[in-house]
C-alpha cells in the first residue's frame, strides 16, 4: 500500500538538507517554467513573442506510447485500452490510460469516448480507494505526444501544500517513490481493474 503521510514525510525529510529543503529540481530551467527571480523577487517570466510554428507533438514515427504497449510498464489491458506506469514518480502513484490504437483524444468515436469515461471513473475510484491517497487527478494534457494518454496522478492525503493544480510540480521536487512500493500498488490497481474488465499484466 502507499506510504502513510507520516512515512512519506519521514522519507522526504531524510532526503532533505538540514534546513528541510530539497535541491532545486531541473524543472526550474524548463522553458515552460513560468517563474524567475529578478532583484530578489519572484516574478512571472516575460512572455516571449509568438513563434511562427509550434514544435510538433510526437506523432506516429516513432510513437513512444505505441512502443510502450507490451513493455514492463504496462499493467493492464482490455481490447481497446491499456494502463501503464510512469517510469519513475514522486507522488504516490502515476498511471496512464491509453488507447491501443494511435488516436488523439478528440478523435475518439462515441463508443471509445464512452468506454474512456467509464474507465476514467473506475481507475480514479480504484486509485482513490488505496490507503493514504487524498485525491486522484485525471488529466488530458496532450502537448507532448498526439497519442491519447490520460494522466492519473494520486496525491498523498493530509499535506496542505500538495493539493490542486500545482500538486503535479511536487512530482519534480520530491524524491522518487521506492520501486517496491509503487510496483506493489500498481499490481493492486491492475488486479482491481481486472475485476471490472480486461486483464491484469502485473
Amino acid at each position: 500500500m502507499p506510504e502513510s503521510p507520516e512515512e512519506f514525510y519521514a522519507r522526504i525529510s531524510a532526503a532533505a538538507g538540514a534546513d528541510g529543503r530539497l535541491p532545486l529540481p531541473d524543472m526550474s530551467d524548463w522553458r515552460q517554467f513560468p517563474w524567475e527571480v529578478v532583484d530578489g523577487t519572484l516574478v512571472a517570466k516575460v512572455l516571449q513573442p509568438p513563434v511562427d510554428a509550434e514544435e510538433p507533438r510526437e506523432g506516429t514515427d516513432p510513437c513512444r506510447v505505441c512502443r510502450s504497449y507490451g513493455s514492463d510498464r504496462t499493467i493492464w489491458e482490455n481490447d481497446h485500452f491499456f494502463v501503464s506506469m510512469l517510469g519513475s514518480h514522486s507522488l504516490p502513484l502515476v498511471l496512464f490510460l491509453q488507447t491501443k490504437e494511435h488516436l488523439d483524444f478528440p478523435e475518439l468515436d462515441d463508443d471509445l469516448a464512452a468506454e474512456c469515461g467509464r474507465l476514467e471513473v473506475t481507475l480514479c475510484r480504484i486509485m482513490e480507494a488505496l490507503p493514504h491517497i487524498g485525491r486522484v487527478h485525471v488529466m488530458r494534457i496532450g502537448d507532448g505526444a498526439e497519442h491519447m494518454h490520460d494522466w492519473f496522478i494520486a496525491r498523498p492525503e493530509r499535506f496542505a501544500q500538495i493539493i490542486g493544480s500545482l500538486a503535479v510540480e511536487w512530482d519534480e521536487i520530491l524524491p522518487p517513490v521506492p520501486e517496491e512500493i509503487r510496483r506493489a500498488d500498481a499490481h493492486e490497481v491492475a488486479r482491481h481493474l481486472a475485476t471490472h474488465d480486461g486483464r491484469a499484466l502485473v
Binding site: E6, Y9, I12, A16, G20, R21, L22, L24, P25, R31, Q32, P34, W35, V37, G40, T41, L42, A44, L47, Q48, P50, V51, E54, F105, P106, L108, A113, A114, E115, C116, G117, R118, E120, V121, C124, R125, R135, H137, V138, R140, I141, G142, D143, G144, P156, E157, R158, F159, A160, Q161, I162, I163, G164, S165, L166, A167, V168, E169, W170, I173
Partner: protein, 197 residues
Amino acid sequence: MPESPEALYARVTASGLNRTDVAAEATFPWQVVDGTLEPKPLAPPAAEPVARTGADGCPICASLPTERTIWENDDFFVSRMFRPSGLLILFLQTKQHIDFTELDDDLAAATGRWEVILCRIVERLPHVAQTYVIRFGSGAEHLHLWFVARPDGFPQIRGSLGLEYDEILPPIPEEVLGPDLHEIARELATHGGRARV
C-alpha cells in the same frame, strides 16, 4: 474567435503580466531564499485531510441558474470560469451533486462522450493549440471537469504548467470571450441539450 497569437501578445505587452503575490499562497511550491529560487520545505502532514466544499452551500449547485452557465442538458451543464481569466476555461459539471468517483456507468459514459465533444469543439477554435481536460476535485466534491484552452504560438505556455497562465496573463476581454462562449454553446447544442448564451 480567440485572439491571434500576435493580438494576444500585443495585448499582454501593453497591459503587462499579473505578478500577484503567488509565493504567499499555501499551495505554491516555490519561494525566494537569499535571492535564489528554492522549493519550499514540505510541512509535516496535518491530522485531518484538507476539507472540500460539500453539499451545504455548494457553489457548483448554486451556479446552475446563473449567467455563468452556457449550456445544459438533462444531466450536465457547462459553465464559464468563475473569475476573470487569462485563458479560456470552461467547466463540465453534473446537475446532481455527486463526486467524479460516484458516477454510475451511464453517467461515466456520458461524461466521456461530453469530454471528447467539448474538447474537440474548443480545440477547433482558431488559435487554440490544445485543450486540457482535468479533474482535480480538491476544492469542491461536486464533479467539475476543467477544460483549459492553450493558446497557439507560445512555447512557454505548454504542458501542465500552462494552466498557471490563467492567473499570469491579463484576463481575456469580454468582447473576445463572449462570442467564443456563444459559439461553443451553439456547437455543443448540435450534439444535444440547449445553449444558454
